[in-house]
Symmetry: C2
Subunit: 205 residues, 2 copies
Amino acid sequence: MSALECPHSSQFTQTERTTPKRSRERVTYEREAAYQVLDEALFVDLAFVGPDGAPRVLPTFHVRVGDTLFVHGSTGSSMGLGGRDEFAVSATATIVDGLVFSKSWFHHSMNYRSVVVHANARLVTDEDERWEVFKALINRMAEGRADRSREANPKENAMSALLAIPLEEVSIKQRSGPPVEEPEDEDLPFANGVAPVSTVVAGRL
Amino acid sequence: MSALECPHSSQFTQTERTTPKRSRERVTYEREAAYQVLDEALFVDLAFVGPDGAPRVLPTFHVRVGDTLFVHGSTGSSMGLGGRDEFAVSATATIVDGLVFSKSWFHHSMNYRSVVVHANARLVTDEDERWEVFKALINRMAEGRADRSREANPKENAMSALLAIPLEEVSIKQRSGPPVEEPEDEDLPFANGVAPVSTVVAGRL
């Protein structure tokens, strides 16, 4: 049975580092919900440990294909591959859905959906896989866009790097709904509610 | 002369880790431009190294006050403070301004403004400083909001943690303008251009 045929669980397996220390009620391990966020987000932030042992984080364009997250880099980038076959990364994508205004400072919050991935990333070297993923990256900008633009030539192809990040250790944290209010605050003369936040893309080509 | 009176440079000092390996023309060290992105972004992604040596990244709400970035955490969070006075972090904020559709796969891109910060973060313990920053966090959600909601009580105050991240080692990477086209692609029968992206907050309270 190939990886494509292998049925995956609808729930990610919870691990120590995907277990929150607080706000546990906001964290789940639902695969489809996490994939929806990854598919909607315009970029992911990718973190890794630099050669000096300090953390690095940078935004990258990404596409999810099945149970793998692919991020786009460059062969000359500072991602710290350094000839290694794989290396530890953490990636996150966040959609903000609203600003939550409570009657108390403490309960001000945001409505959001946020995915965090922990994994060992590998450099994609198989040419067929690279081609399929580059195509998927272009098609993510607009449906069918890969057929409405010129394919990469060998020189361009050689200038791009792809990292594959297996989606195995994943959590999704989210908040929705109205502000929380303490009973003693209900009568305070302050407005409360949610200001919706939306990200709009006008006119994909 | 206090820190507040100390005139800072309009340019951040470039370091090895804020020096890009490629796309150098997109990276600058302009303080005001970086601050504008941090002030506009709805969240930052904060990266640090976990106790297992692997990278962690998570979204946090933030506010910039002068030359310091403050991020909001919780006393029970997994930020890995572990009793340390300070620890290495990297933080990033990104605004996406457009999707860039080129006639070639290779020149598809995004218009964006992205700030990356490297620093040692410290836990804010001074009560006056904490109060001022919590107030600034609330006021960042809507102008004057701290005066239109109930202040934190001692119990609520004790449940919140603040990290201070000095804005000293900072870079800003940005792209704007139309797609790049290779001369040989100019006559290809494909549409090209930029699809504007905007994030809209409706009705702050």
